[in-house]
Symmetry: C2
Subunit: 178 residues, 2 copies
């Protein structure tokens, strides 16, 4: 299966820890294979995402890149797809069929930024995609994007390994420790 | 049309400003009518969400409640539906048909918490629903929940009024000021 890798731009230490962690955990929960974080180096955030994978299973990995522009260019040189999530882009519902075909045939990089993304990002991306043209949240945009990309099938994903698993309940909490 | 109102529990000043703002903006962008925030009183967060509605249109409203337990009980006494999003609940994809029927026929309160939700919440809710049984983000859970509830139609929603509107572009940014 081709990979879906999330690139989170513009992380700032002392401000974005929780949002970036949520982006990483949403990437994992909604079926992406990996997250790469750019901006300030922040080993604690990378580690906290990887710790969730160790506890809850699956092969999702978080890492940091010093140079995201090179990473995107290399990705393009290798003929892999680059999608940029932005409220200014084309509506998700209009491009989803094309994106599903892309995802079935080649690896896809999904770029999520904050409000101050450089103009370059729009040019580098093969697709600038809006999950609504309203201001909201990179966490929400990524989760809904992945859910559409995988057409809801990611909700059935089993994260193999791990030390904890939830047994769904109509009321209350049931966790098994493996 | 019946209303969909989001109740965000456990807001903490000095820690949750951005996440709660993202929850509120995601609620608005994905078609809910209102958000009510519980926990620490935080007028700045309420105001920043309402300011987005003024700028970008629509009738979405944010407010604060001192006593969310009374609010939920009153909601139930009026025979309105109460849904609690929790990773411990029943999988979204298994209950979505029932929830869509509920939403078509009566107002729905959608409770999102942080990690430390009181046991009472599970008992008060008519439905405890898991958007995956993996740990991720209340922002992601709410957005994907609403997108499923409205079956993607909320992406077409027009937010009437407001002072700004985006004209979707394949590259770059185009905003009209009205």
């Amino acid at each position: 299966m081709p990979l879906v890798v999330v690139l989170r731009l513009g992380h700032r230490v002392g401000r974005d820890e929780r949002i970036t962690t949520h982006v990483g955990l949403a990437a994992r929960a909604f079926g992406a294979d990996e997250i790469i974080i750019a901006g300030d180096r922040d080993d604690a955030v990378v580690e906290s995402i990887n710790k969730v994978s160790q506890q809850w299973g699956g092969s999702f990995k978080a890492s940091y890149t010093e140079n995201w522009v090179s990473l995107v260019k290399e990705w393009k040189n290798n003929n892999r797809a680059v999608v940029h999530l932005t409220m200014y882009g084309l509506p998700l519902q209009q491009v989803i069929q094309q994106l599903r075909l892309e995802q079935a045939s080649r690896d896809m990089l999904v770029i999520v930024g904050g409000p101050k993304v450089r103009a370059e990002t729009y040019r580098l991306a093969d697709y600038n995609v809006a999950v609504t043209n309203q201001p909201h949240s990179e966490v929400a945009a990524l989760a809904v994007f992945l859910d559409w990309l995988f057409a809801g099938r990611e909700l059935e994903k089993i994260h193999e390994g791990g030390r904890m698993r939830i047994i769904p309940q109509p009321r209350g909490k049931k966790v098994v420790h493996i």
